[in-house]
Symmetry: C2
Subunit: 591 residues, 2 copies
């Protein structure tokens, strides 16, 4: 296959091609059709960039994938470039060492943001040329695009009509301007159009683009895949469906219409899209970096929030069963990480509303949990789980009325003082953030330290974000707000925003601990000092108390935990059988 | 006087003049010589801008000064413009309503930053013309500039020679570049040159400018005012003293020297200074907004830190005496806010090292404390202090080895539940920030919430910063780092930075509570997770415990407070007489 790509380069007189990992929709997961880098290199981790020249090939990936990439690239003739390792050149240096300003480097312009493209062009000696996806011709074995059934997301779940959402999205714009919002992110489009698909793993979205006006929407998707109810509803809401493949052409036709102001989110405007509007003075970025639609989507309405509660209730029932199942079977030697994940899926499947997992389930035993994204995909890969140390489980599900995401770390035996201190610090951080009150205008960046302080006081820290937004029967990772320490999203937390809260600690080669609830921002009080918000917890899954250092946790956090457990028991117990209910009562005992 | 300024405007064919409040050194306090706005308007608050046209005059000030300005402007013919009040135009709108692009508006170019000047020129229809200070000619009654004695700040207090400081400041620059750092802030110059003056209230600085090279310093100051020891020392450290008034001329002469790269901090580069270098391609802003000297100055060396400890010990002794004095005399009816401040100054003065207050002392009884910067200047102005409610005292002192800043709120009677809850929340916030641990790279903006959380959980908040940097026998407010919620300084807290910690609550018409300690950042631990820092407390003044809600405070904070009080007692008691020591022992009892 590499030879065929090189033949293509030769025919085009190009010197190299850069092949990234994403698709033109800038989502987290990608259809196989777009996994060209994996296809060509054999390395199928989620992150990596392949660069191919006429005589060489190299693949850049980050530390999560060093071992996997090394194994999968063996014998491919592709050099592994370990990002961040001293002495390993980055893509720009590597290319500059080989190509000067007479050279041409190709890159699919739909797969790179305009900003990244500009940065490449500034730093590279050679010229970077944006091309349209060439691989349909080159790689006959390429997986075809597929478009699964698109269903209606009824207003009884979404809470608002498409017309009402459109009105909301355009409400802040000057009345005398005809604005067209360009959407390339599938989840934005699903939310706005009250539809759901299943073209991508874990994310219930249909591959699509949209051009959104205040009075109509042009939806670029596979019309044949839409169920009748969806077609009827969309027609009633001034949504016109055009062929998925015609998106760029229609943009090209409209670009010259000077009566329209085009707006696109900076973070999801591809170089290809921007080049279409290069001559238009009527094109600009949305003032919010992820755009107005993503912003409005992040603020859940009361109907959506009711759905989140229902989703967490159903998920809480399944979680209680899996936690009891593990406890009942831990001594048998028959449990492994994969079988536990499958068993949880089975429990979830007992609800007719279950629509699948919201991400690849993480069930990780002791040292395996020290990698934050470890996941075993089969019984063979999976570690046997015995009564020793910790088991970390981070899984979530899709329901038509909400998405869940929960992490629990389960003590399986007596623990060391360090393990107890770490477990308690992680939990205390999770609780301190849950208890936070804050004034209107506060961002997650300002609250983040509340979740980290107990770990920091032990001289320990985790390096991922503390919290991400969560979609409503959509992507489990959703912007634009977040709770992080490394950068400020600049987006204030507002009532209705649904947010994960997941402090953690990872001790390499030993164990990982993470405790995650999902929170929603709600109004607290309004007075002469201003408008105050706080969090309410949506998750309803018991938290192990046997390994808590009560003194380290402190009274305030203990009281929060006892109140939480009282609520978990009250909500979940009525849905359990007697034996399960007794088990849960014990788990929810005050400490 | 207004008539004479108008005559000057007429003669110059100008339409208006803008007169700000600051001096050319961009400090917090200003010599009378520069108080032109106060002189012309009669309004002598610290913040205000006067605009004078041929027929009108208006003065803009903020809400702190509405009442005072109203009184002082009465009958002056100057309109009061209340900043932030609905319907009140800002300076730009007011000027644009009067003057179009044929008009000229004058402004002393040394009193406005280049950035502010650019903003004026962009928004104003009329042309803004930068002029040199014209008031020596116009206002014969103007106070003359004065230059008080400049003394040596010996290395036994400063910890480093001027040469060593110079080397530190230039250590990050490319070796092949001849760099000249331009300093206009007097405290930067005092620190760098190991000298102190007393040209400005509360800030022990001499009026000065400097041009700093890696191998020498040109110091623009009044040489006649320097004591012999200072002159000798400066000569030995390659510091050449030139006349204060020659600064701009020397800059002008040097500007054309293309072998020199000039660097000036963005925040203290005046329009006048920048215009001198307008034609030079070798002029730019320092990469740190307050400049390299201010940054190095903020990181105190071990000798400076030892001095801070000594200063806080001396100040702690005086504080204990004033607290006991208030307690002993509260029932007599003889105490007032002013007399208490004077008594504290007297106690401080018992130490031969006392060099004066570090800012205008704040002693505020009940409702008076609800304005954060209230200060009574005489017995007549001051409220009588009786055994009722709270007394807030925020005062600090200058010692040759350090500067102090302490706030205590003293309960004078039984308090209401709200007062107890507020007092406890403020204290808890102060303690939570004191206990913080954090990873290298963390800014005050990220820690701020720790000090506010207990208040936020009551639906209350204070709106000033939580902490400011503190100079070493220099300005009590010092950058570039801070702890605030409204904006991120972008400056990470580093070991050696000295920082106030002063959460508060203000209930209008009722009371104000503020508790302030001074902290220094120190190393905590270094391990596989990174480099961790924490705070140590420098202040040694007991904190009232009688009005604490022990349950609300929590065990962790109570333990911190008990440890703190043990240390206060151990350090201070040996310097008190028996009666005082017994009193202190009681105040430091564990709760």
């Amino acid at each position: 296959m590499l030879a065929r790509v090189r033949a293509y380069l030769s025919a085009d007189r190009a010197d190299a091609i850069i092949i990234p990992s994403n698709d033109p929709h800038f989502g987290e997961y990608v259809q196989k059709h777009f996994c060209i880098r994996a296809m060509l290199s054999g390395f199928d981790g989620s992150a990596g960039t392949l660069v191919l020249t006429l005589s060489e090939a190299a693949l850049w990936t980050d530390s999560r994938y060093f071992i996997q990439a090394e194994a999968q690239l063996k014998g491919s003739g592709i050099d592994l470039m370990k990002i961040g390792v001293e002495g390993v050149p980055d893509i720009v240096s590597w290319l500059n060492a080989r190509f000067d300003d007479g050279c041409r480097i190709l890159l699919d312009g739909a797969l790179i943001s305009a900003a990244e493209y500009a940065s490449y062009n500034k730093k590279l000696n050679a010229r970077v040329v944006g091309i349209a996806d060439p691989f349909d011709e080159i790689l006959s074995e390429r997986e075809p695009l597929y478009f699964e059934t698109v269903i209606l997301d009824p207003e009884s779940f979404s809470g608002l009509s498409v017309a009402a959402k459109r009105e909301m999205v355009f409400s802040g714009d000057p009345a005398d301007l005809r604005i067209c919002r360009i959407l390339t992110r599938c989840d934005d489009i699903m939310w706005l159009c009250n539809i759901r698909g299943s073209d991508i793993d874990y994310n219930p979205v249909a591959l699509s683009y949209a051009l959104v006006f205040s009075d109509k929407i042009l939806l670029f998707a596979c019309k044949e895949a839409f169920e009748e109810a969806a077609l009827e509803y969309l027609a009633s809401q001034q949504v016109e469906i055009l062929p998925y493949a015609s998106f760029y052409d229609v943009c090209g036709e409209m670009a010259s219409d000077e009566s329209i102001h085009f707006l696109s989110p900076a973070s999801s405007t591809s170089m290809r899209l921007e080049s279409i509007f290069a001559d238009s003075r009527h094109f600009g970025y949305e003032s919010r970096s992820e755009g107005e639609v993503a912003y409005r989507k992040s603020i859940k309405n009361p109907v959506e929030l009711e759905g989140f509660c229902k989703a967490n209730l159903l998920d809480g029932i399944a979680w209680c069963r899996i936690l009891k199942y593990i406890e009942d079977n831990i001594e048998t030697g028959t449990l492994n990480e994969y079988s536990i994940a499958q068993q949880l899926i089975e429990y979830r499947g007992e609800s007719p509303d279950y629509r699948g997992e919201s991400f690849e389930p993480i069930v990780a035993f002791n040292a395996n949990a020290a990698s934050a994204h470890y996941s075993a995909n089969s019984d063979e890969e999976a570690a046997v789980v015995t009564a020793q140390g910790f088991l970390l489980m981070d899984t979530g599900a899709q329901y038509p009325f909400g998405t869940t995401d929960t992490t629990r770390t389960i003590p399986l035996s007596e623990l060391t003082p360090d393990q107890i201190a770490d477990y308690t610090a992680v939990l205390k951080g999770m609780i301190q953030l849950s208890m936070a009150s804050f004034i209107k205008g506060t961002t997650g960046y300002q609250l983040d330290i509340l979740a980290r302080q107990p770990l920091l006081s032990l001289g320990r820290l985790f390096f991922h974000g503390t919290g991400h937004g969560i979609g409503h029967y959509l992507c489990v990772h959703e912007g634009p707000q977040n709770i992080r320490m490394d950068r400020d999203s600049g987006v204030a937390l507002l009532p209705g925003m649904v947010q994960s809260n997941e402090p953690a600690i990872y001790i390499e080669g030993e164990y990982g601990i993470r405790t995650e609830n999902v929170l929603v921002v709600e109004p607290f009080t309004e007075n002469e000092f201003g408008t105050f918000y706080r969090f309410e917890t949506l998750t309803l899954v018991p938290i192990a108390t046997s390994c808590i250092d009560r003194e380290q946790l402190g009274d305030e956090c203990a009281q929060w935990l006892n109140n939480y457990h009282r609520r978990v028991y009250e909500k979940i117990a009525p849905h359990l059988n007697d034996e399960e209910a007794i088990w849960l009562k014990n788990k929810c005992r005050p400490i």
